[in-house]
Amino acid sequence: MAFETGVAANYRDLLERLRTFLTKHPALLAANQQWTELRWVSDATTQELLLRAPGLAGADEIYCSVRSYENPTSGYYMWDLNGGIGFSPADTFYAQPGTLTGWLPMMSLWNEATPYWFVANGRRVVVVAKVSTLYQAAYLGFILPYATPGQYPYPLLIGGSMTGQRGRRHSITGPNHRHFVDPGEDAQNASSTATMLRGPAGAWLPFQNTYSSTSESRYDSARPVWPGSYSYLSVFREALDGTYVLMPIVLSQGNSPSDHDLFGELDGVYQVSGFNNAAGNLIQVNGVDHLVVQNVFRTSVRDYWALRLA
């Protein structure tokens, strides 16, 4: 699995580095898991990167895309994140086959030096970027579904750290500015969040743990991301011997109080306690480092997750 960290000059440079990383990283090339670039457009104020990932065995075709744009007047520098089921050269970024429509998961970056972490294999890429003291993140690609490839052939997740209307500054502190591991949205049961999964039936399913009432509220949504939805997560600590416990992040759906679906887990992404912990720490599990990331600006115990750097 390929991993890279560094400091990009700005949000545009970050996308160029991601492009190079996914298509040319030696570890991906060695495993024959390098991503194919379908479209690369770099205009004065926008960039478009459309990619196809090959899966682990080279038998999959996973379509993911990123588009950057800016508005210096309003002070936002965005990545729109998207995915689909194919590539049509004649169509625009937002009109590709099977893409998300409406509001998209996004990353709100800036035009300054940005430390970043990229982790990818043939199935998915996870991006963590540090903007000032905030963290932005994205997950593009397949989850590990609790199903066989025949039962659930295309478990594509497009996860970001912001959703809503296009163009939002990174300083926003609302519930729609949350990472895909514990996503939120302004309204309950919003049809778009920062975590969008292409479900077994082929429809895009939004996952949501919080919404805004008078302030950010946690609620028992129809499609929660576990364990972020768990109400006692805020008292979750490290183990008695001081080691930190990494829990899988599971996408679930409550059809009724007695009927639940579990779609699967995110690959290489885990919930971890923020107790005595801080973003940027490294947690070693079985000799593999895991980067601790905070949920945008949030620093309470429940707002941390870990990314396997391998």
Binding site: R123, T243, Q284
Partner: protein, 563 residues
């Protein structure tokens, strides 16, 4: 008066207030104008940015553990889907899909696929091994079974992977051929149901009964009379398939197609389906002749409609016979008597292999914790009653003989015949037989004879029954094996227990009942008074003799128990 010089601070752009009044001590003034000094005129100071980004934070290294989750169970292994294939009855070529999924996150190579017992089975699709399965790669094999091959399918396909891993696919099923030789009804058809029970009898005649077999064995026996082509077909059926399992139509349960059914159809309308031997997962036969027939598998039954698992192979015209079918094995020696060079007769006996549980149900009401069979036997044959005693003879050969009546009471055996005239009766009787489970479960059985003669009116509320003197009070006196009776009258049927008996005179005796009658019954209203005996079957095997497909004759032996 001192005179001071003053200034007016530049409070506004004008510098001098519009309204002011100079203190009298101030003799003069001069306005102060901005800037005060040359330095003040260096307008505004701009800051320069010291680039400290990205902001670095103190980092710590921590130890952690990862919680195992369902993904650890689901991934990191090879999945064969399905892991077991039950082909059921292979009566036409069958194709199934097998998915082999490498749920390891690393590549795995199949070195070999070893098949055992795969006669007539073909696994095809992906290239032959060695074959690399990429991480999380899934391949679909096509698995086909021909209807030619071993009669019982029990095959194993072992997928051997690098590193010693092995996954096994087990395939089971059976192949059947329709035994389409129809019975010669002039001899009827015998169906035999055989339970198995063990009866442990104590010295005093009480007993413990243990059911040893969950499902009764079932067999059919019938004669046939054939000519021409059917004889040759029979010989070849016996020659090739004699040791294997036949698909045997249940000849007693047939009906006819009312409308044509086309090839490819999946539904058969069989009006009598709810009353006969169809069951989901079982088979049915469409029959026109010994040669021209087709076995089909039943997926489900809804009223009189059978839904088939596979589409029909050919079309069948209205009038085609439809019969339920059982998997059966030919038993013993089959004798074919040649009447002429083209005519043959004979008899064959089949034991059923795919047994199903018949639902048990009683044929009458309950009395004192046991069901009651209130179903008079057929008097066209005599009822034999045997009186047996557990009598031990102690004979040393020299002195007088000693006798020990161990149970102190006789065991009364009866032989009863029933003629069941129609399907509902037959079904109810079969369910009653299933509830008996051979010798295991007793029930109340009236003697069906006129055992007592009522001699005086029984008034409502009266608990005494005056009958002609039969010596009951003298000899029997409410013995546990003979104290319950059924009183059939035109005013109703009553079941009562006799609690005591007194001899009134030489002609009459009085029986005390445990419960009075609630109506007045005159002597001429009484139809029959029979003793009720708690009885069980005295045989585990029951033969149903089918005179026609809706008339059955059954003969049962029973014996009494202490109640």
């Amino acid at each position: 008066m001192a005179a001071f010089a003053g200034i007016v601070a530049p409070g506004s752009a004008v510098g001098e207030p519009v309204h002011y009044e100079r203190a009298r001590g101030i003799s003069g003034y001069r306005p102060v104008r901005y800037p005060f000094a040359a330095a003040d005129s260096v307008s505004p100071l701009a800051g320069t940015r010291g680039e400290a980004r990205p902001i670095s934070e103190p980092h710590r290294r921590l130890a952690g553990v990862r919680v195992p989750s369902f993904a650890d169970d689901w991934y990191h292994r090879i999945h064969l889907l399905p892991p077991r294939i039950d082909l059921g009855n292979v009566i036409s070529p069958i194709e199934r899909r097998l998915e082999v999924w490498n749920a390891h996150l690393q590549e795995q190579t199949v070195l070999a696929i070893e098949a055992t017992g795969a006669d007539g089975l073909v696994l095809s699709g992906p290239p032959a091994p060695p074959l690399a399965f990429g991480a999380l790669q899934s391949r679909t094999y096509s698995f086909s079974a021909s209807h030619r091959g071993a009669p019982v399918i029990n095959a194993q396909f072992a997928f051997r992977f690098t590193g010693g891993g092995e996954m096994r696919l087990t395939v089971t099923g059976r192949r059947v051929v329709v035994f389409g030789i129809r019975p010669d009804w002039s001899d009827g058809l015998t169906e035999r149901l055989e339970w198995l029970s063990e009866v442990l009898e104590a010295h005093d005649g009480s007993e413990q009964r243990i059911r040893l077999r969950q499902l009764p064995r079932r067999s059919f026996e019938y004669s046939w009379l054939l000519d021409g082509q059917d004889v040759r077909l029979l010989e070849h059926l016996l020659f090739a398939w004699g040791a294997r399992i036949y698909c045997l139509p249940v000849w007693t349960d047939g009906s006819q197609l009312l409308q044509d059914v086309a090839a490819g159809g999946r539904e058969l309308v069989v009006p009598n389906a709810p009353h006969v031997d169809y069951h989901p997962g079982g088979m049915a036969v469409l029959w026109r002749s010994a040669v021209e027939n087709e076995a089909v598998e039943i997926a489900s039954i809804d009223g009189g409609v059978l839904t088939l698992t596979l589409a029909l192979g050919r079309s069948w015209p209205a009038g085609t016979r439809v019969l339920p079918a059982r998997l059966a094995r030919l038993e013993g020696t089959t004798t074919v008597r040649r009447v002429t060079d083209t005519i043959a007769s004979g008899r064959s006996r089949f034991t059923v292999e795919d047994l199903t549980a018949a639902a048990g149900s009683e044929a009458g009401s309950a009395y004192r914790g046991y069901a009651l069979l209130d179903w008079p036997p057929d008097w066209s044959e005599e009822i034999d009653v045997s009186w047996q005693r557990k009598l031990t003879v102690i004979d040393q050969g020299t002195g007088t003989r000693g006798f020990d009546d161990e149970a102190g009471a006789p065991q009364v055996g009866r032989r009863l015949t029933w003629l069941l005239p129609n399907r509902p009766h037959i079904t109810a009787f079969r369910q009653w037989l299933a509830a008996r489970a051979g010798r295991v479960h007793p029930c109340w059985l009236p003697t069906f004879t006129s055992d007592l003669q009522v001699s005086r009116v029984v008034v409502s509320g009266g608990s005494g029954l005056v009958v002609l003197n039969t010596g009951y009070s003298r000899f029997v006196a409410a013995h546990p094996q003979r104290r319950d009776l059924v009183l059939r009258t035109t005013a109703g049927t009553f079941f009562r227990r006799v609690t005591g008996a007194d001899e009134l005179s030489v002609e009459e005796e009085l029986l005390s009942l445990d419960e009075p009658l609630d109506v007045t019954v005159t002597v001429d209203q009484v139809l029959q008074v029979s003793w009720l005996e708690l009885a069980r079957l005295d045989q585990d095997a029951v033969e149903l003799f089918w005179e026609t497909d809706s008339v059955v004759r059954v003969q049962l032996s029973t014996r009494t128990l202490p109640s």
